[in-house]
């Protein structure tokens, strides 16, 4: 497991690249800029990336993070990749639901179902 300090950890699996957020709270502009740099770098490394974002550690995030996720999504799909979000706790899921971003993002309960929902192999 590679580690991009301090915001995410990355696992390169056969079927997907799994990025786990390491902070419980993602709030500050500085953190979001760092995260964006990390995530965009990972996406650019792999052609047609199958990317799973694991939110199991995240207990709190702001709307600024939603903007980041939209940018990440655009980047993934521009490169003909696939994106899945998983392990989102009910309060955070409420934020996705209220903002109707559940229409944009494919959200799975856990890593296994996220991986299973990916079409083809990476």
């Amino acid at each position: 497991m590679a580690s991009l300090k301090p915001k995410v950890s990355v696992e390169y699996g056969e079927k997907a690249t799994i990025v786990t957020f390491t902070d419980e709270k993602i709030l500050e502009e500085r953190d979001i800029v760092e995260l964006q740099g990390s995530l965009m770098g990972i996406i650019e490394q792999t052609e047609k990336i199958n990317l799973i974002l694991d939110f199991s550690t995240v207990k709190f995030l702001s709307s600024a993070v939603l903007g980041l996720l939209i940018r990440v999504s655009k980047k993934v799909y521009e490169q003909n990749g696939q994106l899945r979000l998983c392990n989102i706790n009910p309060r955070i899921y409420e934020i996705f639901k209220i903002t109707r971003l559940t229409k944009i993002f494919d959200i799975s309960p856990d890593r296994a179902s996220a991986a299973a929902s990916l079409a083809g192999q990476q």
Binding site: E28, E29, F60, S62, P90, Y93, T99, L101, P109, S113
Partner: protein
């Protein structure tokens, strides 16, 4: 500044006024002051999450759009914790804005744009959101133990 505390089983309101600079991290300290009062007053974790989110979103708007990220400009935050509610009033030094012109981020192409999501979350997680005429001050109230059918159904629908 007036400060009351809980004594025994008798609830005493907490009321504070703080002025912070326009740096994004300043709100962290404000929530650190607010959180123990909410816990001591037995607000639920759901209430605390909602107040935290609304505080963060309102502060981001005040600093970014109101004070244009100028650290020399201040944000004034008044809050009061009462038996049945928590109330926050936040005022920036900006020119203000008309909340009615902010596009609804839930529809069409707005889904992919950054504007309006913070205000939508404030409106969704708080029971009252009111702006002053100038649009540089917002008053938010969250009532304790209000039934929230949407929250309950979400827990069941969570993937």
């Amino acid at each position: 500044m007036v400060l009351y505390v809980c004594v025994g089983v008798e609830f005493m309101p907490i009321s504070r006024s703080v002025v912070v600079s326009s740096t994004p991290s300043a709100v962290v300290d404000v929530f650190r002051q607010l959180q123990p009062g909410l816990k001591a007053s037995n607000f639920s974790e759901e209430d605390i999450f909602a107040v935290h989110l609304a505080l963060e979103e309102a502060f981001t708007n005040a600093v970014k759009h109101g004070n244009k990220m100028e650290p020399s400009k201040a944000v004034k935050i008044d809050y009061a914790i009462e038996p049945d509610k928590v109330e926050i009033c936040m005022t920036d030094e900006g020119l203000g804005f008309d909340p009615e012109v902010i596009p609804d981020p839930r529809y069409g192409d707005n889904l992919y744009k950054p504007a309006g999501r913070g205000m939508l979350l404030m409106r969704s997680f708080m029971d009252v959101i009111e702006y002053n005429k100038q649009g540089n001050s917002v008053r938010m109230i969250r009532y304790r133990e209000k039934r929230r059918p949407s929250s309950k159904s979400t827990a069941g629908n969570n993937p």
